[in-house]
Structures are given as structure tokens and as C-alpha cells.
């Protein structure tokens, strides 16, 4: 994945700063609770939600089981419709393909539709290295880009910013990138949105090359689908001459009719709307309408690694709705940046360490960035059992080098529990020395006690109490008789 987050501290450290930022916590709480409420209301409108959810899960599982076949079908259909298909094994290759395609047009600027895949591969940075400027056109992405910031939510990347911060960013940065913000800019959302409209208008009308992702691609027809709200997507997908779409290989669905499931699940789960304001679909190129040069870049970048894991492969069902973020008590307090990835929240906690591996301290910490309360599983429109995958990943993390103390402790515990007489002796010892046990453990154990209290051992174990009360034969002692 992208180098943007390289060097990020592990989750507990990064989250520590976030939870002490009162403004951030206020912004996050307000935002997540608002979307949560809207989502619940529109999901309640559909009394067949459990059936839709089951169908979404089943379609995705079936597609993943035959992913090779469906990708070949997409390739054939897109090519037949006048598009070009490229395969990218990793981020570097995808970036190289896109850079070469842009260079071939002779352009130095591209407009971009908000896309998780291109953030994941660090496309903007790669294009910048090649002297090509990429303009984010989604309002939230624009706020993030102008603020030289990082996204903190899948759906609302600038969720951590409030209106006065956005006004400051616009006033300070817009002139550097194009049409400046008006001097009398207020912090009214309507006024800020108008400033963004004016800032991007000329850009849209003159852009020759656009880069997008896609929410879905249909194997049967070669159709790509982009779901959005502002119309910036339509602008990028329609007005330029060249369109390059970078799409993760897991985004494929088998048939046109399958969209009936996902176009009900996605908008309701993500923005809490019955339908998002704009959905665009296109199949290859259409003479006289829209870009006449269309390229689809199929991106692996670790997805086949996820697919190879029997428990973890369900992660690839994700349709990036972000419902799991909005219900997560950990995300609500820690914010998106603490996850050190473009994929924050519960889905990020399982997707990132699978895509990148768990070699770094940050990635190894992510499976622990959860209370395992299960709220994410309950809201997931494709029923990804996120807690199951978290526990599975924790198991993998503990098996890798660097957990010697924990493994030694578990081994010792296993030895004690294996023999009842050993257990009683240890319990008695603990009871007698209970005053000597510190509140905070020294050495590596401190990491545990920093966030938890050591339970005080009882003065007497249950076994000893039972023996004392009932004697060795188990019959009640009738001392009072």
C-alpha cells in the first residue's frame, strides 16, 4: 500500500493522541451518530433487509470462488465494447500503467473521482513524481488535499474537520491550486460548497484526462458503476477525452441483475439514503458521448493474498460502505488517522494487515484495535464477520517473532492448568502473596497493565473454600447442628 502512512506509530500510540483531542472527538461523535441514525431509519424501510444481506454475501462469495473466470469475462466484455484492459500485480505496476497512459495523452493534469484503490496505491504521489498534477474533485477529498492532510473516513474523508477549519484551509490554499476562494468566504456549509464549485468548475470543463475507481464492474456486460453524490464523478466520467479506471479485482459481480442487490445495500448502508444522488454506469466507449478512450486497470496489490486465507477471504466481500466505522466505539474515539491506512475503522483493522502483512508494528497492532463488541458485523451489508477475522489475525500476529514473553506466559499457564494439584499450589501461593503483587507490571508486561487492572487474587481459592466448607467428600458440614 501507499507510503503515505509509513512510519506511523502503532495504533495504541496514535489513538492516544486522538482521544485527548476534544475537538476531534466531538466532530467524530456527531458525525458517526448522525449517519448511524439515518442508516438505521432507511434500513428499517426494507423488511427484507436480512434476505438482501444474505444475497449480497452469497453473490460475493460465489464471485470470489470463481474470480479468475469472472475477471476474464470482464476483460472480454470491456474489450468488445471498445475499452482497454490492463492487469496490475501491485501498486508500483498500477502506478506505472496509469502514468504511462497519462503521458501518452501529453497532458500534465488529471481530474480524479474519489477512489479508495488509487489512495491505496499512492497514485497521486506517483503521478506527482512524474510531473503530473492530480486534482481531487470530491469536496471532502479536496479539503484533505488542500489541507495537506490524510483522509480519516472511507465515505467522509474530512469527517475530522469542522466548518471553521475548512474555511481556513480554503482561504489559505485554494489560490495555489486554481480559482481562489472569495475574500468574504464565511463558514456556512452552503457558501463553502459554492466556493468548491467555482474552484473546480474551470478544471472540469477543460480536463482532458480523468482517473476514477469503480464501485462495481459487471462481468456479463463489462459495465462499470460509480456511485456518488456531488456530480464531480459525472463531470470526470463524462467530459474528458480519456478515462482511466483503477479497480480492485474483488469489485466484480457476475450479472447485471446482481446490481439490484448492491444498489439497495450500498446507499442505505453508507450515507443512509434510499439512493445516492448520482449513479453512473458505462460499458466501454459510446461514440459521441463521454470519453472515447477508456482504460480499465485491474488491481491485485495483495488481494490474492487475502483470497488465499480461508478465514480472511470474506474481507474481499467489502463494498466500502463504511457502516462499520460509524458504529465502532473504538473508531468513534480514536478517529481514522490512528489506523495508519486509507482503510480505517473495523474494516481497516482487518483489511490493512491482510493487504500489507503484519511485519510492521503498526500493522501488527491493528487486529487489536477493537473491543470485539460485534457491532460492525451486525451492520455489515455483506455480513463480513469482522470479529472472527480480527481474532484470526491476532492468532497470526502472536505466532510471529517478537511475542516471546507472551508465548512463554501462555506456555507456563498451560503447564499450571494441566494438573489440578499444580493449580491449587499456585492459587494458594497467589493468595498468600496477594499484597505483594504490583499494580503495574515491569518490563514487557507494562503494555498490558497500562490499559488494564491486574485482578487481585482472592485470599482463598474456590477449591480451598469448598474443601473447608464441605470437607473432602463433598457433603455439607453441619457445624451449626
Amino acid at each position: 500500500m501507499t507510503g503515505t502512512f509509513l512510519g506511523m506509530p502503532p495504533f495504541p500510540e496514535a489513538a492516544h493522541d486522538a482521544v485527548n483531542n476534544a475537538q476531534l472527538r466531538h466532530n467524530l461523535r456527531k458525525a458517526t451518530h448522525t449517519i448511524r441514525g439515518k442508516r438505521a431509519a432507511v434500513v428499517d424501510e426494507l423488511d427484507d433487509w436480512p434476505q438482501l444481506r444474505a444475497a449480497g454475501k452469497a453473490i460475493k462469495d460465489h464471485t470470489l470462488r470463481h474470480l479468475d473466470r469472472y475477471l476474464i469475462q470482464v476483460e472480454e466484455a470491456v474489450t468488445a465494447a471498445g475499452g482497454h484492459v490492463h492487469w496490475a500485480a501491485d501498486a508500483d505496476e498500477a502506478n506505472r500503467i496509469v502514468t504511462d497512459l497519462v503521458r501518452a495523452t501529453g497532458e500534465r493534469d488529471v481530474v480524479k473521482v474519489k477512489s479508495m484503490a488509487t489512495q491505496e496505491i499512492g497514485l497521486n504521489e506517483a503521478l506527482a513524481d512524474a510531473g503530473i498534477r492530480a486534482y481531487e474533485t470530491d469536496l471532502a477529498e479536496l479539503i484533505v488535499q488542500l489541507g495537506d492532510d490524510r483522509p480519516s473516513h472511507i465515505l467522509v474523508p474530512a469527517i475530522h474537520r469542522n466548518r471553521s477549519e475548512i474555511r481556513e484551509i480554503f482561504l489559505r490554499e485554494m489560490a495555489e491550486w486554481g480559482e481562489p476562494a472569495p475574500a468574504d468566504l464565511t463558514d456556512e456549509p452552503r457558501v463553502l460548497a459554492e466556493a468548491a464549485r467555482r474552484h473546480l468548475r474551470e478544471r472540469f470543463l477543460s480536463a482532458k484526462v480523468a482517473v476514477s475507481g469503480a464501485n462495481f464492474m459487471v462481468a456479463e456486460t463489462g459495465t462499470l458503476v460509480v456511485v456518488e453524490s456531488e456530480g464531480n464523478g459525472r463531470m470526470c466520467l463524462t467530459l474528458p477525452e480519456t478515462l482511466i479506471s483503477v479497480v480492485g479485482i474483488e469489485k466484480v459481480v457476475p450479472t447485471w441483475a446482481d446490481l439490484e442487490v448492491f444498489l439497495q445495500l450500498l446507499p442505505r448502508s453508507s450515507t443512509g439514503e434510499r439512493m445516492n444522488p448520482y449513479t453512473s454506469t458505462w460499458t466501454g466507449v459510446t461514440p459521441g458521448d463521454g470519453p472515447q478512450d477508456f482504460h480499465l486497470v485491474l488491481l491485485d496489490n495483495g488481494r490474492t493474498h487475502v483470497l488465499a486465507d480461508e478465514v480472511g477471504r470474506q474481507t474481499l466481500r467489502c463494498i466500502r460502505c463504511s457502516a462499520c466505522l460509524n458504529v465502532c466505539p473504538v473508531y468513534e474515539r480514536a478517529g481514522g488517522h490512528a489506523y495508519g491506512s486509507v482503510y480505517p475503522g473495523p474494516i481497516g483493522a482487518i483489511l490493512t494487515p491482510q493487504l500489507r502483512g503484519t511485519a510492521s508494528a503498526l500493522d501488527a497492532s491493528l487486529p487489536y484495535a477493537s473491543s470485539l463488541c460485534g457491532a460492525c458485523y451486525d451492520v455489515c451489508p455483506v455480513a463480513i464477520d469482522i470479529p472472527e477475522v480480527l481474532v484470526h489475525l491476532r492468532e497470526q500476529v502472536t505466532e510471529q517473532p517478537g511475542h516471546r514473553a507472551e508465548r512463554a506466559a501462555m506456555k507456563a499457564a498451560g503447564w499450571v492448568f494441566a494438573d489440578p494439584s499444580r493449580l491449587s499450589r499456585v492459587q494458594r501461593l497467589a493468595g498468600h502473596t496477594r499484597r505483594l503483587i504490583p499494580k503495574r507490571l515491569p518490563g514487557p508486561g507494562a503494555a498490558w497493565t497500562d490499559t488494564r487492572n491486574i485482578p487481585e487474587p482472592p485470599a482463598q481459592s474456590f477449591r480451598d473454600w469448598w474443601a473447608q466448607e464441605r470437607g473432602s467428600d463433598g457433603s455439607p458440614r453441619r457445624d451449626d447442628a
Binding site: 466532530n27 456527531k30 458525525a31 426494507l46 427484507d48 434476505q51 438482501l52 452469497a58 453473490i59 460465489h62 470463481h66 474470480l67 479468475d68 475477471l71 492487469w87 496490475a88 500485480a89 470530491d138 469536496l139 466548518r163 463553502l192 460548497a193 468548491a196 464549485r197 468548475r201 470543463l205 459487471v218 459495465t223 453524490s229 456531488e230 456530480g231 464531480n232 459525472r234 463531470m235 463524462t238 467530459l239 441483475a257 446490481l259 439490484e260 442487490v261 444498489l263 439497495q264 446507499p267 439514503e273 434510499r274 439512493m275 444522488p277 449513479t279 453512473s280 458505462w282 460499458t283 459510446t286 459521441g288 458521448d289 463521454g290 490474492t304 493474498h305 483470497l307 488465499a308 480461508e310
Partner: protein, 209 residues
Amino acid sequence: MTSRATVLGRIRAALADAPADTAAPLDRTYRRRHTDADNTLPLLVENLRDYRAIVHEVTPDQLPSAIADALRRRGCTRVVVPAGTPETWTADVSGIELLGDTPPLTVDQLAAADGTITGSAVAIAETGTIVLDAGPAQGRRALTLVPDYHLCVVHAADVHASVPDALGHLDPTRPLTWISGPSATSDIELNRVEGVHGPRTLEVLVVRD
């Protein structure tokens, strides 16, 4: 080895241990629709209004005057009219320049227009959605994107209850634009603001024919 072969090889290796997919057809026990046929039209109107579109219900006879009234109210002087638009639609319009798209208008001409009148391919009641498929009276996608005002005619016969119903009436080989209310953003403290980049105003004439 090409990257295509690499990726396909990785997929096949990753799935080597995966159980064979069950041959049973996918369970599609979800509903085909969530509303009665009688309620389809009222629900469309209600949901379009909920997403801040302006909606009028008219008879076929009233359509020409309704179009002329809407354009006058809006103060339009130059309006784009796609190829294939019935001449009767603009029969009552006077004092407004009607721009055809043959030869294609430039983006600057589109940006200078006050609005666009189009028909529609399909509408979806449950979600308050109108779908354009670039067919007659709809034109290419840019026509309903660049001007700030979209006046859209929806015939009752094209209104379907649900997303599953509507998909079967759409041709995926055409470029489709699904519109649910005007352009909107909620990116600033989740306050909904209409009209960021697409048309700021969507006005719909539902024709009961």
C-alpha cells in the same frame, strides 16, 4: 510472465483449497418490490420531493404549458433541447432560445445555457430515482450535467416500483445516469447542501398518461 498470468495464477493458487461452489441457484428470497402498484406514482413523487426535487403532476394535454411555465418561472433565456424531443413539448415556449445538440454544443455553450429539458428512460418509486439512458429526448450525458437546471419529463408508464424492477428495463450497453434529486454533498459537518457540481435544481413533470 505477464501480469495477467501472474494475477490469474495467484487467484487459482489461492482458491486451490476452496470448496467447490454449490450448484444450487443463489437464494433470491428478497422482495422484488416493497410497494403496491397503486402506490407507485405517489411514492415516486413523495421520494423525489424528499430529496428536494420540485415535482408537478400533469396530464399529457397540460405538458406543453407546464414546460413553458416552468421555464418562465425559472427565468430561462437559453435552454438545451436534445435530439428526439417531441415538438409538442416546446410548442408553448416563447421568447426562449432553444439550443439543439446537432452539431454537438461545446462545453462552454453548455455552461452558458440556463438549463436542459429532457425525457427519461425509467423512474424508480421506492428510491425517488430517475434514470436517463442517452436515448431520444435525453441526449448525451453532458447535457443534463453542465447547465444548472434540469427540467425532466417522466411518463407514468416508465415508473417502476423498485430497483429490481427497473434494472430489467434498462440496457447496460448504453451509458446510464441515475439521478435521485439534485446534486448534493454532506461533506461539511454532514449538512446537506444541494448543487455542488451537477445541476442545483431538478424539476420533474410526472405525466399521467
